[in-house]
Amino acid sequence: MFEFLIAGVQAPWILLVFTGFTVGIVGGFIGVGGGYMVTPALIVFGFPGYMASGIDMTHIAGKGIVSTVRHRQLGNVDWILALSMVAGTMFGVEEGIRLLGYFKHLGLSTVALLGASVLLMGTLFVYTLRETLRSHRRLTEMVREGKTLAREVSTSSLPRVFQGLPLAPLVRCRVARVIVSMWVIVLVGVITGVLAGFLGVGGGFIRVPALVYIVGASTHIAVGTDLVEIVFSGAYGCLRHSIEGNVDFVAVLFMLCGAMFGAQFGSIATAFVRGPAIRYMLAFSLALATLGAGLPLVNLLMGGKLAWLTAISVIITLGQMVFLCLFILSLVYFAYRANRGRWVPEWAVPLLVHNVTTGG
């Protein structure tokens, strides 16, 4: 146990390191901050709710930098795309917070928040999963036909629609290999920012699918670029929370120690998989997050008579961190086996990249 002088609580420091590590793996792999998983965990460790949010947001900023450094080395960051989105994201976050305040004023904040979460994440989950299953099938066919597999396969026709919008100025994103209207990028930033501010999350699990299905970036670039956004939105959140007195810096430091290793592993793991594997993870995390928000909503609409639903949602929220980590670890393990010519499950073969190049 460690006594946190500012938070005024005694909490197990090793669990903070472990939480940072596990969320770091997931965050580095699918490009999310993981706020929706960390805040409840910190409350369980004894931190008050407002401190949990502040520590979480501050650690996300630091972890975002750690992950971005690695994704930059892997060539997964499109700086033009990221910086074009920043202003829109910031504006959106602020408007999202105001929108939440409006619903709070009406006394509908919890219902509105949970309802919006379920609707949005549920829709994203269904679309992402369907599209990823189609991509997986196409990759499997290519394996059977003995074709060379691409790093990315996407079957969505949405990006072509948005890239075809003739609204000046057009932006050429060299790394992402897309030419798209600046307005589309800004709009993605604003919309995902509003949702992030409204739902009180970093917005990665909304922004990554938006970058893939609206802008047309590959999943790897969407992850790397989103992490740059998370650095900016996390930094803004860190400043706001710090001024409000919601941050114990040493708690953040413990989490960052774990996140350093986790984020490295998660980021490097993306080099061993194809785009659809990352999108599967994204779909699973969306499904679990939808359940996590949906069960308390049902309880709320039933007049609080089904409190056990909220308890189940808490277990799901904390359990998904472990589940997602194990899934990522299994993918890396299968990639390692495949690279050595050993047996791997048939479904995993098209999702893995062989012969990841390293060396001087």
Binding site: I65, Q73, H220, C238, S242, Q264
Partner: protein, 185 residues
């Protein structure tokens, strides 16, 4: 691995290792010296009584805790210091009981020049979890520069840890090549 590359990786790793140690040591020293705590509990956000909540965590309605009111420069123990909005907080303060709460009298009341605490905390809920919400952190204003310090330090720690890890993997021969996104896209 080329000798030239190995030297570059070693220099990179050592540079960021030193930077990480310096930044980490400075951050921890700022925390343990009490500087960060002083910045955090900086000013009062309301008129009331500066207290250290550790002294009355066990208070109940049946067995309330009595705090001596005075112009103390340190409020650790069973002490309370009268503060006004915007005034600097005494040493050891971790919360301010505002006058409205005292006037209401259900949790804290005045009795013959002493502050009597009978309900030190309440159960609140966040994200489906219940937690004990007491007078700790209440009605205090953090030094805005501490917010900026947090931001700068988080940025520095993130950069140092990120490049330290990159230096380490370069050093052990795991220099990952950029992914070729042009293939099949």
């Amino acid at each position: 691995m080329h000798t030239k590359f190995r030297w570059r990786a070693l220099i990179k790793f050592l540079f960021w290792a030193v930077a990480t140690i310096v930044v980490g040591a400075y951050a921890i020293n700022t925390y343990t010296s009490g500087q960060l705590v002083r910045w955090y509990y900086f000013e009062s956000r309301a008129d009331g009584y500066a207290v250290n909540t550790k002294g009355f965590e066990q208070a109940t309605r049946e067995q309330p805790v009595y705090l001596t009111i005075g112009a103390f420069s340190d409020v650790r123990g069973l002490r309370a210091a009268r503060v006004t909005k915007g005034s600097r907080l005494p040493e050891g303060t971790n919360g301010v009981v505002d006058l409205a709460t005292v006037d209401e009298g259900t949790r804290v009341r005045l009795d013959r020049g002493q502050l009597v605490v009978s309900v030190p905390w309440q159960i609140k809920e966040a994200k489906g979890f219940k937690f004990r919400d007491g007078f700790t952190h209440k009605n205090i204003r953090t030094n805005p520069y501490a917010g900026l310090w947090n931001l700068i330090m988080v940025g520095l720690v993130g950069l140092c840890l990120g490049f330290l890890a990159e230096g380490f993997t370069d050093l052990v021969g795991l220099k990952f090549q950029k992914i070729d996104h042009s293939v099949g896209h």
